[in-house]
């Protein structure tokens, strides 16, 4: 459970700043060229805190790792820093900008921490090295357990100030793991830390998804002897059985307006079809009627369309249905097995699992069917992609290490990194929306 961080926002204006017109430092949507160089020295101990070295590097290294994962930043090598850390100033009053410009930094983050009773106080500032200007600053107060979250919060702030776009560093990933001996739902930070076991169904749980406000999880569980759909509040843990009809109740996805769930039901005839139900579990509409297996529905970000998997052509492929008219068009034509569609929050692309020559890999395709692109190669089975809420990252499951683990990568396939480790198989990852309540 996340702890409340009391953020005391104190914007410290240094010298004559005037109006800082929102300068765009990084054009986030332009094709990747050079990365923005940023220097992040260790945070400074401003008062008595035990375990100082660990805290100092923990704070700066989490911010550094977040920015590095974004793919937009190059971290200036700390060994080249010219400044003397002991005499350095974190407020910006007496920073020697030339020291930082000389080693190639264009932005600089400086922070410090102190302890007040059982709480830790952190103040951190972002500077524009080229202009010698203060960009933004924050002061946070929290428990020692909150340090990572505080670092993620400031990394999000840095992203926002330099790119104009919200960062995803406070988001979480839900996934399934059998490390306890049975498949249960787990949560972790997007970088793999702070992993928590969420369910104790002691059965088989599958395919978690998030409500758009990030406060509820929805998933399938065999707890009661049948694949049924459950919801569970993230903060309070209250669970509810939402759909428990005879046959299959699987693959739920929450609508962008938060009011409906699309899922697969097979009822009694064994034929898997797509239905929409409301938050009481009542059927609103039936979207498919064919003899084929229709599974894995996924809403478009505008709620107008649903991508899903159907084997109506003889093999599983991805189709798109317009919800209002129920008109269906086929999206994938290459290969003989394309499943697990996930619609990018940007609305333009769909990621999916494709099998070619017995190898499973992650692909993306534009919603009009063009621009098919393979993102993973030569590394075991790569499946179940979902997108970060900014559409810049994809999380997926890969068996490349021998067991299935969760990996994240950028939307162009670069920057693959494992976010789970340890024993057991980790699958079915689902990236949370922005979690404004953290």
């Amino acid at each position: 459970m996340s702890k409340k961080v009391v953020a005391v926002v104190v914007l410290l204006l240094i010298g004559v700043v005037g109006s800082l017109a929102a300068k765009v430092y990084i054009y986030i949507d332009s094709p990747a060229t050079t990365k923005f160089p940023i220097a992040i020295p260790d945070f400074k101990n401003l008062g008595s805190v035990p375990d100082t070295k660990k805290v100092a590097t923990a704070l700066s290294s989490v911010i550094a790792q977040d920015l590095e994962i974004s793919g937009l930043f190059r971290l200036v090598n700390p060994e080249t820093f010219l400044e003397n850390p002991d005499s350095s100033d974190i407020t910006g009053d007496s920073i020697n900008w030339r020291d930082w410009a000389a080693i190639g930094a264009e932005a600089l983050i400086k922070g410090g921490y102190s302890q007040e009773g059982s709480r830790v106080m952190i103040e951190v500032r972002l500077f524009d090295v080229v202009r010698g200007d203060f960009i933004t600053g924050k002061r946070y107060s929290g428990k020692p357990d909150d340090l990572r979250l505080i670092s993620h919060k400031f990394a999000d702030e840095v992203m926002y100030r330099l790119t104009g776009q919200k960062g995803v560093f406070q988001t979480r990933i839900a996934f399934v793991s059998d490390r306890s001996g049975q498949k249960e739902i787990y949560l972790m930070d997007f970088d793999g830390l702070d992993r928590q076991k969420v369910t104790s169904h002691r059965s088989i749980t599958l395919s978690p998804a998030w409500s758009p406000d990030g406060k509820t999880l929805i998933f399938t569980s065999y707890r009661d002897g049948n694949p049924d759909v459950f919801t569970r509040e993230v903060l309070y843990g209250r669970e509810k059985k939402l759909s428990y009809r005879k046959g299959l109740n699987i693959a739920p996805d929450w609508s962008p307006d938060g009011k409906k769930i699309v899922l697969t039901l097979s009822q009694d005839d064994g034929n898997s079809d797509i239905y929409i139900i409301n938050l009481l579990g009542e059927k609103i509409s039936r979207l498919t009627r064919e003899w084929a297996n229709d599974v894995s529905p996924c809403w478009s970000p505008d709620g107008e369309e649903i991508a899903f998997v159907s084997n109506r052509s003889g093999n599983p492929h991805i189709y798109i249905m317009e919800v209002k008219t129920k008109k269906v068009r086929r999206l994938t034509f290459e290969g003989k097995y394309n499943t697990s569609p996930a619609w990018s929050p940007k609305g333009d692309k769909i990621a999916f699992t494709g099998r070619r020559n017995n190898a499973f890999n992650i692909y993306t395709i534009y919603k009009n069917g063009g621009g098919l692109r393979q993102l993973t190669f030569n590394s075991g089975s790569n499946e179940s992609p979902t997108w970060s809420p900014d559409g810049r990252h994809i999380v997926f499951s890969s068996s490349r290490s021998g067991v299935k683990k969760i990996y994240i990568m950028r939307a162009d396939g670069s920057g693959e990194r494992a976010t789970t480790w340890g024993k057991g198989n980790d699958t079915d990852p689902c990236w949370s929306p922005y979690l404004n309540y953290r």
Binding site: I204, G225, N293, S296, N315, P316, K336, T339, T353
Partner: protein, 190 residues
């Protein structure tokens, strides 16, 4: 009783008591088979999702075949040593092979002879492919077996179905041998 089969597209006269139904089933099974060859490339081992949806017709089952099977069920009923056995499926397929049908005849005989026992048919898949798609496939496999059993005289209320997709393999191996063992319809006495 006379049976004439005339050449060259002329009338096919059949036994009176099966009459028109047999022609329809036979024609439909031909049509189903022809649609098979359109969809499956020669080197593909995948099956197609069949299903004509016609009442009584099941994966090209003719009335004759069904009667023969029912007869064998009658023969086996009450016999000592009949077993309740699992059936197995081809990759990405839920149709019943002739071996599966043979096994189901004995399974039906067992169930009719033990009609007070409730049976669950579990549909399973091998580990390849997407979990959700495999749960749907497992459901088809379980229903496919149940439908055949009902055609053979088993009461619907005695049999329930459930799909586990790829979630509960019988063999944890990652090779063809293990996968073949996992693509099963498993019979469980409840």
């Amino acid at each position: 009783m006379q049976v004439y089969i005339l050449k060259g597209g002329e009338l096919l006269m059949i036994r009176k008591y099966t009459s028109v139904v047999s022609i329809i089933l036979f024609t439909l099974s031909l049509l189903w088979c022809s649609s098979c060859t359109k969809q499956v490339a020669p080197d593909e081992e995948e099956g197609i999702a069949g299903g004509s949806g016609t009442a009584g017709a099941q994966e090209g089952l003719t009335e004759e075949e069904l009667e023969e099977a029912r007869r064998r069920v009658e023969e086996l009923k009450g016999k000592k040593g009949i077993k309740l056995s699992n059936i197995y499926f081809a990759y990405d397929d839920f149709s019943l092979s002739s071996q599966a049908k043979k096994t189901l005849v004995e399974d039906a005989a067992w169930m009719i002879s033990n009609s007070q026992k409730k049976i669950a048919i579990e549909g399973h898949c091998d580990e390849r492919g997407t979990e959700e798609y495999n749960i749907a496939l497992g459901e088809r496999r379980a229903k496919s077996a149940k439908r055949y059993l009902i055609n053979l005289g088993v009461k619907s209320g005695q049999v329930s179905t459930i799909s586990y997709g790829e979630e509960m393999p019988a063999d944890q191996g990652h090779n063809e041998e293990a996968w073949a063992k996992n693509r099963r319809g498993a019979f469980v006495i409840k």
